[in-house]
């Protein structure tokens, strides 16, 4: 079999339509909404704030604590049981590790920044959407960070290397599938998350990463735009 055309008619190196907004949750210190195709993520940042239990405190720097949560009604299939599970624990951890290289928490010893990622609608690529939303929300919360992390999944469907797989592609049955979520620090091109599910050759992997990096640059522009839009009217005169 040959995968000639993508199910939703996109080009092989084209992401789904993206929508991003900063400052969507009033009570949070920083928040963001990121939607890619039918996958949507809300991220809310609280803190830096006091960290208890005390043994988790780090006197040298603050810690980042990410909580990834898929809402019960989010999938297309069965209801997701509310609360954490093994998968969400893992994803919380990898998202935390993907964001950690850019945030600078040395100014906040013994404290914590909490990031809550909620997914009301999922159609594959949730951890990538979560990372994109979380980095906008962290910037919105005024956290010192080197760059905004952008993330997208790449992979292989049958014989084609594609970007931003949706659920139909992940579940493709007539050939091999590989799903590779990648998070990139766009300015430097460094990779802060790379996971893989499936099979892929070395050459195809290189190609997939290259495509993902290019897509992340575009996602980064959308993230920046979302932040600038929120503060656009804050421009102009300043008292200082």
């Amino acid at each position: 079999m040959v995968y000639k055309q993508r199910f939703d008619g996109r080009k092989f190196d084209e992401t789904r339509p993206i929508e991003a907004k900063a400052g969507v949750i009033a009570r949070a210190d920083g928040s963001a909404y990121f939607k890619i195709g039918k996958t949507a993520a809300y991220a809310a940042v609280y803190g830096p704030r006091n960290l208890y239990p005390k043994f988790k405190q780090d006197p040298e720097r603050g810690i980042l604590r990410v909580n990834y949560n898929m809402l019960p009604f989010s999938g297309q299939g069965d209801r997701v049981r509310p609360g954490g599970n093994r998968r969400s624990r893992e994803l919380s951890l990898v998202i935390e590790n993907a964001l950690m290289p850019v945030v600078d928490l040395t100014e906040f010893p013994n404290s914590v920044i909490d990031v809550f990622i909620e997914l009301p609608e999922t159609d594959a690529g949730t951890r990538c959407a979560g990372i994109c939303a979380a980095s906008i929300a962290l910037a919105d919360a005024g956290v010192v960070m080197k760059d905004l992390v952008a993330s997208v999944s790449a992979g292989k469907v049958d014989d084609k290397v594609v970007i931003d797989l949706d659920y139909n592609e992940e579940a493709y049955e007539d050939g091999p599938v590989a799903d590779i979520p990648i998070a990139v620090i766009p300015r430097t091109g460094q990779i802060s998350l790379l996971q893989m599910d499936g099979e892929i050759t070395k050459e195809e992997l290189d190609k997939a990463i290259e495509m993902a990096k290019n897509a992340c640059v575009k996602i980064n522009e959308i993230q920046r735009k979302a932040l600038k839009e929120k503060y656009a009217n804050g421009n102009g005169d300043s008292d200082e």
């Binding site: 210190d29 920083g30 803190g47 830096p48 704030r49 006091n50 006197p59 603050g62 850019v102 600078d104 100014e107 906040f108 010893p109 013994n110 404290s111 910037a139 919105d140 919360a141 005024g142 956290v143 010192v144 960070m145 080197k146 760059d147 905004l148 620090i185 766009p186 300015r187 980064n220 993230q223 920046r224 932040l227 600038k228 503060y231 656009a232 009217n233 804050g234 421009n235 102009g236 005169d237 300043s238 008292d239 200082e240």
Partner: protein, 256 residues
């Protein structure tokens, strides 16, 4: 061959390149990467000669020495009080800095300040580990009784106070409220309930429209419309004559 990539006073986001070349220096909220200066914090770019810095627009209050803040007593310890500062770290108010009279060993400290009391304090020291010491020795530092507290974005506090306290004294004059603005974004307002509401709404309006130019004039006409009182243009001097020394000191002090 150095040049600015972004214009002065523009919104910048983390990862955005601000300037190229070694003639510019990275200030607060920026870092150098190779020959580029890159933004590290969301905010407004401020070009100060050769130095580039980013003025924050969001985020929590960051305690600094010399700030006057409104804190809440959250614990009574052996020889002092623990104060919530509306930041990530609580502050300590020692007995020595809290009360002027002699306190016998083992005396009940709750008769001075009890849990839940709101007090105006200045920060006298912040360590690298963010242990904060506060004091109540100074003009206008006292326990707040009555009134209401609201929280605002701490980065908008200079706007609420205005130049030489012009904005806050204008609100005081037209609403007859006593107002204290803490650098940590906590504002205390006391007056008649109707006037308190007007003051709260005005402060919220200032917070929301802090970027508008000519805001002082706009707020002035807004207040005049609501209260029906004409404000004289030199609100500050009039205020000083009203005899409320503590509060005017507060405004001056904060607008620095």
């Amino acid at each position: 061959m150095s040049e600015l990539i972004v214009k002065d006073k523009e919104i910048v986001v983390p990862g955005e390149e601000l300037a190229a070349g070694l003639d510019f220096l990275p200030g607060i909220g920026t870092y150098r990467d190779g020959d580029k200066i890159v933004c590290a914090k969301l905010g407004l770019l401020h070009v100060d000669g050769r130095a580039l810095k980013v003025i924050s627009l969001s985020g929590q209050y960051n305690p600094k020495r010399g700030d006057t803040i409104i804190g809440k007593v959250i614990d009574v310890a052996f020889s002092g009080w623990r104060i919530d500062t509306n930041s990530a770290y609580p502050a300590m108010l020692s007995m020595k800095d809290g009360v002027s009279e002699f306190v016998v060993r083992g005396a009940d400290l709750t008769k001075y300040y009890d849990i839940g009391d709101n007090i105006v304090v200045t920060i006298i020291n912040v360590t690298s580990q963010k242990l904060i010491d506060v004091s109540m020795k100074g003009l206008g530092l006292r326990k707040l009784i009555g009134g209401r507290l609201i929280k605002v974005n701490p980065h908008k506090v200079p706007r609420i106070i205005g130049k030489q306290g012009s904005m806050v004294s204008m609100i005081k004059q037209s609403t007859d409220c006593r107002i204290m603005v803490g650098q940590n974004g906590v504002v205390w307002i006391q007056g008649t309930p109707e006037n308190e509401i007007i003051a709260v709404n005005t402060i919220k309006k200032i917070e929301q429209e802090s970027h508008v130019s000519g805001l002082t004039e706009k707020i002035k006409s807004y207040l005049e419309e609501i209260t029906g009182k004409t404000l004289d243009s030199n609100a500050q001097s009039d205020h000083n004559n009203s005899g409320n020394e503590n509060d005017s000191y507060e405004a001056d002090h904060n607008s620095r």
